[in-house]
Symmetry: C2
Subunit: 136 residues, 2 copies
DNA sequence: AGTGCTGGTCTCTTTTTGAGACTACCAATC
DNA sequence: GATTGGTAGTCTCAAAAAGAGACCAGCACT
């Protein structure tokens, strides 16, 4: 099978999936992508993929997130089923956040993207510098 | 080789990459991820992966993007080297946007994530419904 | 009695995004 | 020749999201 044709078909199928065949207002794929494409979502998923963390630990781990956004991002990730929240009756009570099975399965493709970013951030930085130098 | 240990090592390495070994303020991986995790970036990259599009075509293709955000997202994608912008001297002049080699190489892992979203959006929808039903 | 740790919420300000009017140019139409 | 329509945007103002930091309750330790 011609790999070019195969790739084009794959692209078209994903394109249709992402545009929901023209019904943009109610596209589940875009909905899911937007849920994980927030500013802090991917970072927290990456952190929790390493091991479960407590609220205060995450706050110290990511010092430039505000407490408000940490609360809200964890809430959203929990709502979408990526993160499990468990309260332990210690004193004071501690709360542990961990990835669910769904979260772990999402981590795999996310990992691919982060690996790409790790390999290519020099190219992006160079492109940005060249663009800015050309008085973009 | 024990695959669990291998996976843990891979996770730790990516975690380090994303946290830049503690230097959060200047982490190139987070910088790159944030550049492509905007609300419209991934959608436009997916569209341009299918074929080049002109400005007005993209606007009609994604009817719920504002002209202002389309302009700005394309500008940002161009600045980071994912998108090529070419003006044709027709009357009136037309502008074509296409993926660069860097953009096409980024499309590959992005595609994985979109495929995951396509396969799992039911699970996310169910999780969300269950969470909301439990008066989250 | 004061201090510190837990996991948050509340309010205020700043930044980002969205909605829509407006521009300039030209071609074809009425 | 005035009107309409298509090109790719910009500009302004309102709404939504995010950031900064004060504040809270409960308990342990000093």
């Amino acid at each position: 099978m011609d790999s070019k044709i195969f790739n084009l078909k794959a692209k078209l199928e994903l394109y249709k999936a992402m545009t929901n065949g023209g019904n943009f207002a109610d596209c589940p794929v875009r909905d899911v992508i937007q849920g994980i494409s927030g500013k802090w979502s991917s970072l927290l998923v990456m952190a929790l993929a390493e091991k479960p963390y407590r609220f205060g630990e995450l706050r110290r781990l990511v010092p430039d997130i505000s407490q408000r956004m940490l609360t809200q991002t964890l809430y959203d990730l929990q709502r979408d089923g990526y993160v499990h929240r468990e309260v332990f009756p210690t004193k004071p009570p501690s709360v542990e956040y961990s990835l669910t099975d769904l979260g772990r399965s999402m981590f795999l493709p996310l990992q691919q993207l982060v690996q790409w970013a790790e390999l290519n951030h020099d190219a992006v930085r160079d492109a940005r510098a060249a663009f800015d130098a050309a008085q973009g």
